[in-house]
Amino acid sequence: MNGGQDLGGVQGFGPVEPEPNEPVFHADWEKRAFALTLAMAMPGEWNIDMSRFARENRPPVEYLSMSYYQIWFAALETMVKERDLVADDEIVVGHALNAPKPVKRVLTPGDVLKVLHRGGPTERDTNTQAAFKMGDKVRAKNINPPTHTRLPRYVRGRAGTIERVIGFHVFPDSNAQGAGENPQWLYTVRFDGPELWGEGTDPNVKVSVDAWESYLEPT
């Protein structure tokens, strides 16, 4: 979706302000929101692409005025409610009022390190051949789906070069909608600065995105 999350090239935010000796978390609630988000992936009621969509799927003004863990937490609230794991009135009183919905699994302390170490690899086996090879000239399609996509606006319609054939990976646009993993070939596509930002742009700047095959067309 063309939402507040798609920030590449947006202007007016001012300078980057690094924080010296930044702590990992800035408040206790951030720790809990972070851990709840990770732990609630375990029941298997949603996947990472659905989580990302739940975070970005809000008015841009709201997205941009929330801190990052506020966005994570708001998405978690949305997803537990959508899946009927938690009801609104339960959040209001802060207690369970209804019987729990059966879920596949719950993260136990004994499994934490194992689960983190395993992660969630997105590469899949395939017998298909990649349509593009290193050095091929391609163009990012001009697509504007209202649903989740990982093709940022600033490269749409722009011409670039295949720098790397990464592998065959789960397609988030499909996975986020619960329409299956639908894996595709994934590429690193490199764009020249002036192609993205116009004449007068520093020609020594090159920018790449990782793009699934269906985002690309040959030029």
């Binding site: 851990a35 794991l85 990982r150």
Partner: protein, 211 residues
Amino acid sequence: MAHDHDHHDHHHDHSELTETQLRVRALESVLTEKGYVDPAALDLLIETYEKKVGPRNGARVVAKAWADPAYRARLVKDATTAIGELGYAGRQGEHIVALENTPQRHNMVVCTLCSCYPWPVLGLPPVWYKSAPYRSRAVADPRGVLADFGFALPKDTEIRVWDSTAEIRYLVIPMRPAGTDGWSEERLASLVTRDSMIGTGLPKSPKDVAK
């Protein structure tokens, strides 16, 4: 919120924070009472990312690559496996690619769409990495961003920006500082900063650590 360097008024921030705190507490209670989460698992997740997983992991990888050419070759060829040799793997680092800085080319990593970052080697991302100023400008004006971090590169150095739009996570291997011949990996690791592995900083010099 108060740490996001935004320009809202502080009273507004304060009330937002309080409401968020209450909502997080309420949801944790409900999820716990319904048996969906185990609070001891939450504590362990927090402890892991606060105390165990952080940029010291990545510094060990970089130092080893500086000291051991065979390891560097493996790292550049297949970073996920080479990093796994040191025991670092998993969530948000399932597919890692290492990027070598050279005198001709400086690499810099961003996630314009969210906050993708190589957790097993760098830990959780700092606020600035997730912030709108960095995500918006890293791809359009990377030299300006580097100036915000207080350094400049020669005009003819290529700046190569990697937008992490898929599940590939990028780790920059900065150039080894001069004057470190014969240093042990452990000593070399003390020069490797988090920002130098994102591409928004340079490693420390031997002088910096001698102070």
